[in-house]
Symmetry: C2
Subunit: 158 residues, 2 copies
């Protein structure tokens, strides 16, 4: 079955699907609360993109375009994509859904920064990401991995 990456709208169905993912946290709880209190409209745009397999959301990620003024990773300093909560449901792993989401993110041709979960370093390297040089006051508990489109470098250390 061919699958496609689609932008997920904020509604009760999406939020119900989100409960199946491990990284369900304060972000999701806050979206649910905002929806229940009519602080966001049903079917508003979300930062989440996902892949449906039939009726079921089987993979998702969040993407956000950060402004160049917050760029502490790349050279030249520029807009870049924050990617987080990339996750494929257990029984749908090893079918290329993770790669499909990452390729979608790369298609914007902006540098990408993510925080790799422990034990996922191999996955990110296979997708062409590299570990960023760790800087404590920037990264704290993160494992920053970056992807560089042509013509972009990691910024050199201060």
């Amino acid at each position: 079955m061919p699958t496609k990456v689609e932008r997920l709208l904020i509604n009760f169905r999406t939020l119900e699907e989100f409960k199946k993912f491990k990284a369900y946290g304060i972000q999701e709880l806050s979206m649910l609360e905002d929806l229940e209190n009519n602080m966001v409209e049903n079917n508003s745009e979300s930062p989440f993109y996902g892949i449906y397999y039939g009726d079921e959301l089987v993979a998702r990620m969040s993407l956000y375009r950060a402004d160049a003024k917050y760029d502490y990773y790349f050279e030249p300093k520029q807009d870049y994509l924050q990617l987080w909560k990339l996750e494929v449901l257990n029984s749908f792993r090893n079918r290329g859904f993770g790669k499909q989401l990452v390729d979608f993110a790369k298609s914007f041709n902006l540098p990408i920064k993510t925080n790799a979960r422990i034990n996922s370093h191999g996955f990110w390297e296979k997708q062409g990401f590299q570990p960023a040089t760790y800087e404590m006051e920037r990264d704290f508990g993160e494992n920053p991995f970056i992807w560089l489109p042509e013509g972009v470098q990691e910024k050199s250390e201060d």
Copy 2:
């Protein structure tokens, strides 16, 4: 056996002990590389604090005092502590070591911010932490939990 929280020095022994912890990542690899290349001195100070039980490091956390100008969580705006990589080795859980580390962090009487791992929300609430109001462009994939000493509040939303 009474235990105490101590500041961990960067040396090969500490880094060997760190390998037992799940959250061993780019930060630890970078410390190891710096030590091997003599870019940091043996026994330099680290941001890590830990508890030894006999000869074995059984719990650790990182603490860093962030300057007030980077404070986007508290009111009044002030220096605060970033706490990350709090972890107790599996076979030493439920003996109060996690609480002992958190109490140590609280003893500075500064507000504290941490990124709670999924399934650890109950632990943080038991330690008197509360979930911060989620703000996407600040928190991305984090589950920010904060602790407020007397006289400090969560900053109100912009």
